[in-house]
Every structure is written in structure tokens, then in C-alpha cells.
Symmetry: C2
Subunit: 179 residues, 2 copies
DNA sequence: TGACACTATTTCGGTGTCAAACTAATCTCA
DNA sequence: TGAGATTAGTTTGACACCGAAATAGTGTCA
């Protein structure tokens, strides 16, 4: 299951670790208070980049992206949501929701319908085709991505908790770690 | 130093934790092998989104983005790099480098110059204006972002190491944890 | 030495994302 | 009850990014 990592392409493979290099550079500059933070920020960026690239590679044959897969999944497990709820749940702005929903609707995977009592609000629900595609997509991602991360259960939990501290400080509602 | 988190805007604040909700949903579906992975992937996405938004908010007054700040920083601490080296060091594709370099060059912060012996290669170096701006930018980010993460030194190291496992499996060159 | 493979960069088309401006509907309360 | 505030969604403009194709220079080896 070797998937070609984020970007290699024509470029020569990197022979050093940019994250470690930044950390050392920060220390060398006398920025001790910030060196750890730099490492965290770049690590998070790179980790996410790797996982996103892998997800998108796996979803491409299904004509999906991770962003649209997420919208589809949200609607798959609910009976109609407002576009505002979609944006809130996925942490994206209203404009982003509009364009994702536009594309999914154009593909026939979801449909918009008006809110029965509030003329401002637009609801979206998944179509049968969308349900079928999502089920195929989630099966692929489960098999090829989510279940293959090189982290133990304890490590995964720990990683989620560390990031939860950052999220909490930023104002996210964060669930207490499960027992 | 409360910075408005990633996106709240007009939408009501979320009263549940989407990461925890996904994890529970995966378990409820009987996808135990993938539930932890889902949590890790979404956590990484959200953590990065929060930090990127904060960096970009801090850099906006300087007319910089985090992406361009990174290119500038790379050139700040070197005497000329090929565009290929820039892309490799920042894990982005050649086309992305071209457009970042275009913008930075248009702002007078860096300049391109030809490779002395290889006609295919383009080099880039920072200008005095670029050096001044980067120094201002890094001072801001150090003070307002990198040194303010809610993680202890041990937690930061641990987070970096956990993500390093993901990176290593993806083929990244990863430095051994410092002693 | 010349065809062919390889390498570095640019160009192009498509997505996802945000911020800000805009439109339309609903709510509030004086 | 009606003006002004608020809320939901859309539109627009800008950016970062990828993947694939195109361009141009370099290397290789039969």
C-alpha cells in the first residue's frame, strides 16, 4: 500500500528534515520561546498535507475530493441540514458551502430544497446516488487510509488530545476524552 | 490576545464536537478499525486550519500570507536557492513555487536570476526589502503565535514525534528526536 | 554526434478556501 | 407597525494548491 507521498515528482528527494532544520534555526537565532511552536505549526501543516493528498488520491477515481466527501458524509447521516449547519459542522465559511453544494448538486449527489417556514434558509439532502457514492468512498477511505495510520490506539488518542488543547484555546467546543 | 477563531461569523457557535461525533459515529457503524484514524485525520485538519488562520490574520497587515512568508524565510537564511529547492523544502509543486515567486518578485521582496551554468535552472534571492519585511513578520509570528501555543515543551515534542511517524511512513526524511 | 531520455520551470484548468460586499427574509421593539 | 438590526445564503475577487501538459535546456550512449 505504498502511496506516492505528497510531492516528489521531478524533484530530488529531500536529504534533510525541514521541520528539524527550522527548529534548530530558531534556537540558533536565540528564539527559544518560539522554537517548539514553529515545530508544531510546520508538523501540523505537513501531517495534514500528507493525509489530504492521500485522501484525494483515493477519492479521485470516484470523482470526489475530501471536501466534498465530507459534505456528503454529513448529509448521509442526517435527514436534511441547512447550509449554515453544514458550514458550522465542517468549519468552513458560507461561501465555501455554497460552492461545494453547487458542485455536489450539479453531480446529482445532493439536492437543495427550501426551508418550510424560513424563507432565508436553504436545506440540503443527499440523493440515492449520493448515498451510494458515499458508501463506496467511505469503504475505500476506511480500508486505505483511516485504518492504516502508523499510530497505535494510545498514540492516536494522545495526538487527538494534544490538538484538542489547541482547538480549545481557539474556542472550539471540545469533548472530554472518552474513558 | 484573543484572536477570533477560524470561522464563526454569522453562524451559531457549535454546541458539539464534530471530531468526537465522527469518532462515535464510526464506532456505531461498526468501523472500529477506522474510528481512531478518522479522529486523527479530522484533528490534524482542524488544528492546521486554526493555526493557518491565525498566521494569516497576523500577516495580513504586512501584506503577506503564510505561504509567501515561508518562501521568504527560506531565502532569508540562504544565499540563493533554485526554485526546485524551494519547492522541495516547502513540499509544494513546481507550479506553486512559480506563482509564489511571481508574487514575491512583483512585490520587490525577492528577485530571480539565472543559474550561471545551467540554462534550465532559475535561482531566487531575497532583496533588502524582503529581508526587512521577513524580520518584521517573524517577530510578529514569534510573539503572537509560535510562543503562545497552549502546549508545554514536552507536549510539543510529543506532538511533533507523533506526526513524525505519519511523515516517516509517507516517505519524509525525519530527524531523530533531539536528546 | 544525434536521437532520446531526463530535468527545471512555466502554463493551464480546476478546487477549496477566505474576506468582504450584496440580497433577501426575519426579528425586534419603540 | 415600521425602521433598523440581525441572519442566511450568494457572489465576487484573490490566493494557494494540485495535476497534467508544454517548453526548453542538459546528458547519455550507441
Amino acid at each position: 500500500m505504498m502511496i506516492e507521498p505528497s510531492y516528489i515528482g521531478s524533484m530530488s528527494r529531500l536529504e534533510y528534515d525541514p521541520i528539524d532544520a527550522s527548529h534548530r534555526y530558531w534556537l540558533a537565532q536565540g528564539w527559544e520561546d518560539s522554537a517548539d511552536g514553529v515545530g508544531v505549526v510546520i508538523s501540523l501543516m505537513r501531517g495534514w498535507q500528507i493525509l489530504l493528498a492521500r485522501a484525494n488520491t483515493l477519492l479521485r477515481p470516484l470523482d470526489l475530493t475530501f471536501a466534498r466527501y465530507q459534505v456528503l458524509g454529513l448529509l448521509r447521516s442526517s435527514r436534511g441540514l441547512t447550509l449554515g449547519q453544514v458550514g458550522t459542522s465542517l468549519w468552513v465559511t458560507p461561501g465555501t458551502v455554497t460552492s461545494s453544494v453547487d458542485r455536489l448538486e450539479a453531480s446529482g449527489l445532493i439536492r437543495r430544497y427550501p426551508h418550510p417556514s424560513d424563507g432565508r434558509t436553504v436545506l440540503a439532502e443527499i440523493t440515492p446516488a449520493g448515498r451510494r457514492l458515499f458508501d463506496k468512498a467511505v469503504k475505500t477511505l476506511n480500508k486505505e487510509l483511516f485504518s492504516t495510520l502508523p499510530l497505535s490506539a494510545e498514540e492516536s488518542t494522545h495526538l487527538v488530545e494534544l490538538i484538542a488543547k489547541i482547538r480549545a484555546e481557539a474556542g472550539d467546543q471540545v469533548a472530554r476524552a472518552e474513558p
